[in-house]
Amino acid sequence: MYKEPAIPFRGTKEQEQELTAFIAAHKDEEGVLLPSLQKAQEIYGYLPIEVQTMIAKGLDKPLSEVYGVATFYSQFSLNPKGEHRISVCLGTACYVKGADKIMEGLEARLGIKCGECTPDGKFSLDSARCIGACGLAPVMLVDDDVYGRLTVDELDGILAKYRG
């Protein structure tokens, strides 16, 4: 169900131009909706209803269809992400090595649930489906940094690095 996001949309003219240009260039290709959403998320970082509306208009598709595709795939987020994005791998290899404890530890320390963003916009927390670093399980990613063979005790130290 659609929920009004807590953080208002702050898109710029330049961002809109970039998206419109992409849509104009690829409008007639088959299967263009998915690449358009991927491009839009690359530009804006997430897909608020305002951006979905732009895509619907640009591709001449009903907004319901755009929303349907945007909510189907886990890559797309309708909510803004934190300044630092944390994702904990909950793939099988990490799970059997205790990744759930890492997730709980982060939720407790950040005071948010998986899928949410801290009120100060500093961290967002997500689960990942296997980033393929099974040799280092359990693993978490903070932005592009990989932390492997993690224990709960290390979490405070890691978070402190990004609180800056």
Partner: protein, 628 residues
């Protein structure tokens, strides 16, 4: 346009450069033109453990000593032994350095690359014999029983250089097919080889191609399924990262066979390295002329486009994948019509998985008999497995079909760490099942795994030990399928959810014996009535754990205990007063202040307050806290 003669010239020019990388401490002369070649694994596993820093350190040391003309640094795909990353091999000796740190690079450059003395204490210790001599990597437990066919170029060539692929015989199969074989010959060769789909189902590849070839249409498509969604599996990613051209070449062969001029690779956006290497590979192949118009001067033209998956497990199902390429919600379609008749954009289409494609060029060049000589009666060739979980040598292995699970776990995998006991291995991910210790000696092939209630799957192999609760594992996979069910058909959308709730009830200690019957009934309905394989197989982890570990389910339901001590609601922590020294460490670490006691006196846990996080047990230095 590239001619076959020009292709052979490139091969000849680069052959010696690459040949040396097959040296294993033998005395074959090094004619590569370099004194040393240093191969550093640039796969995702080693990238995560810091191989970029290693490469940077190597470059700066080599520049410092002016060795640019003597030493060649090559970033390759996965060597397989991800647990020991970053990995580096120095040729011509074939010295295998494991867990390399940037700080140790100056020593390696100084001692090995300048003075010629391998730095033994930094080598993978299994390759250093008691008498100080260095043995070949192929003789180590991890590699000894492996046979690399699909992975043959991974960890050998630079995946970003098409000429290195050509040097190992790349694009020869395509040349042969276009100039010497009819489409029917190709189909017959695949049928004779016995190759079956490596993505899970195991359908004979030759038959699939024959169907698509028989369909009449002006436009046909060749698709590659690189949407490796099974959590804990990274076979396809490693092939794409280590040897992308093998997939492109096979797709072009498929295009020629069925009469298609367009291919699509549907690859997970979560695999940035693989996506990048594929883009480079397609670009190089087009520039050279092995993809594009009139390949090798024939009238065959073929192009390949990438489509990025957006994170939906169901898109691994063939019809869902095509729906997704068409730009819609990735929901499956009923079959028939099968994709070979009506697939992508309504046209005849073949879809194969990455590993299947990676086998094909070699089947063409080395012959169907060669391929069929490996494996078992019904399953030919090799299979790549991503070994993970409670196993020493986590990584990527390729074994001939018919190898036993015991060989994989105990020999190649190095056994279960920390002296724990092997309990079961899960294959086939959320669609598969577990193989318990009592069946560890069964040879692995398609039929045997199905008879055991599991399946080959795409190749994830997760090892579990005595500390894993099988009911909890079943719940883990169900949670995944609940999340990933696309919602199109009722048995899957609602069935997975209800099944999850029943299992959750059991792991929370509220289960009743009749729930077990309900679960069995629901599993059977989901299997027989779901639209696609996701729903049809979603119950497999439950059915399979019930088949082998019913005692654990009953313990959860009747005795309200979790034998492995995993399910929180069914476990409790206690302090053994005789062992407790009263150091207060547990009380200080308890996040909910559930532990009380005076200094130097035995402490007590308040079970009402305890949240069972285990912090006390982890911190106790005297082993005085036990989980029951």
């Amino acid at each position: 346009m590239l001619t076959i003669q020009e292709l052979n010239e490139i091969k000849k020019k680069k052959e010696k450069l690459v040949a040396v990388r097959h040296h294993r401490n033998d005395n074959t002369p090094n004619e590569s033109g370099y004194k040393y070649q240093v191969l550093v694994c640039g796969g995702t596993g080693c990238t995560s453990s810091g191989c970029k820093g290693v490469v940077a350190a190597l470059r700066s040391e080599i520049a410092k000593h002016h060795l640019e003309n003597d030493v060649r640094i090559v970033t390759t795909g996965c060597f397989g032994l991800c647990a020991l990353g970053p990995i580096m091999i120095v040729y011509p000796e074939g010295c295998f350095y494991s867990a390399v740190k940037a700080e140790t690079i100056p020593e390696i450059v100084e001692e090995h690359l300048i003075k010629g003395n391998p730095v033994k204490h930094l080598l993978y210790q299994q390759t250093v014999c008691d008498d100080g001599s260095i043995k070949s990597l192929d003789e180590t437990d991890f590699y000894k029983k492996q046979l690399r066919v699909a992975l043959r170029n991974c960890g050998v060539i630079d995946p970003e250089d098409i000429e290195e692929y050509i040097a190992t015989g790349g694009y020869q199969a395509l040349a042969k097919v276009l100039t010497e074989m009819t489409p029917d010959d190709v189909v017959q060769t695949l049928l004779d080889s016995g190759l079956r789909g490596r993505g899970g189902g195991g359908f004979p590849t030759g038959r699939k191609w024959a169907f698509a070839k028989a369909s009449v249409s002006d436009q046909k498509y060749v698709c590659c399924n690189a949407d490796e969604g099974d959590p804990g599996a990274f076979m396809d990613r490693s092939i794409l990262e280590g040897d992308p051209h093998s997939v492109l070449e096979a797709m072009a062969i498929a295009g020629y066979t069925i009469g298609a001029n367009q291919g699509y690779i549907y690859v997970r956006a979560e695999y940035p390295v693989a996506v990048q290497r594929l883009m480079i590979a397609i670009d190089q192949a087009e520039k050279l002329g092995v993809l594009g118009d009139n390949i090798f001067g024939t009238d065959f033209s073929f192009r390949i486009e990438l489509r990025l998956g957006a994170g939906a497990f169901v898109c691994g199902e063939e019809t869902a994948l095509m729906t997704s390429i068409e730009g819609h919600r990735g929901e499956p379609r009923p079959r028939p019509p099968f994709p070979a008749v009506k697939g992508l954009f309504g046209q005849p289409t073949i879809l194969n998985n990455v590993e299947t494609y990676a086998n094909i060029p070699q089947i063409i060049t080395r012959g169907a008999d060669w391929f069929a000589s490996m494996g078992t009666e019904t399953s030919k060739g090799t299979k790549v497995f991503a070994l993970g979980g409670k196993i020493t040598n986590v990584g990527l292995v390729e074994i001939p079909m018919g190898t036993t699970l015991r060989e994989i776990v105990e020999e190649i995998g190095g056994g279960v760490p920390n002296g724990k006991k092997f309990k079961a291995a899960q294959t086939g991910g959320p669609s598969g099942g577990c193989i318990p210790a009592e069946h560890i000696d069964v040879p692995i092939d398609y039929e045997n795994l199905i008879a055991l209630g599991s399946m080959m799957g795409s190749g994830g192999l997760i090892v579990m030990d005595e500390d894993n609760c099988m009911v909890d594992i079943a719940k883990f996979f169900l949670e995944f399928t609940v999340d990933e069910s696309c919602g199109k058909c009722t048995p899957c959308r609602i069935g997975t959810k209800r099944l999850y709730e029943l299992i959750d009830k059991i792991t929370s200690g509220k289960g009743e014996m009749e729930d077990i019957d309900k679960i069995k009934e629901l599993c059977a309905y989901m299997k027989s009535t779901s639209l696609c394989a996701l729903g049809q197989t979603a119950s497999n982890p439950v059915v399979s754990t019930m088949r082998y570990f019913m005692d654990e389910y009953i313990a959860h339901v009747q005795d309200k205990t979790c034998p492995a001590g995993v399910c929180k609601e069914l476990t409790s922590f206690e302090i053994i007063p005789e062992k407790c020294k009263g150091c207060t460490l547990c009380a200080r670490n308890c996040p909910v202040n559930a532990i009380s006691g005076k200094v130097k006196e035995p402490h007590v846990i308040d079970k009402e307050k305890c949240i069972k996080c285990g912090m006390c047990m982890n911190n106790c230095k005297f082993g005085a806290i036990v989980k029951k």
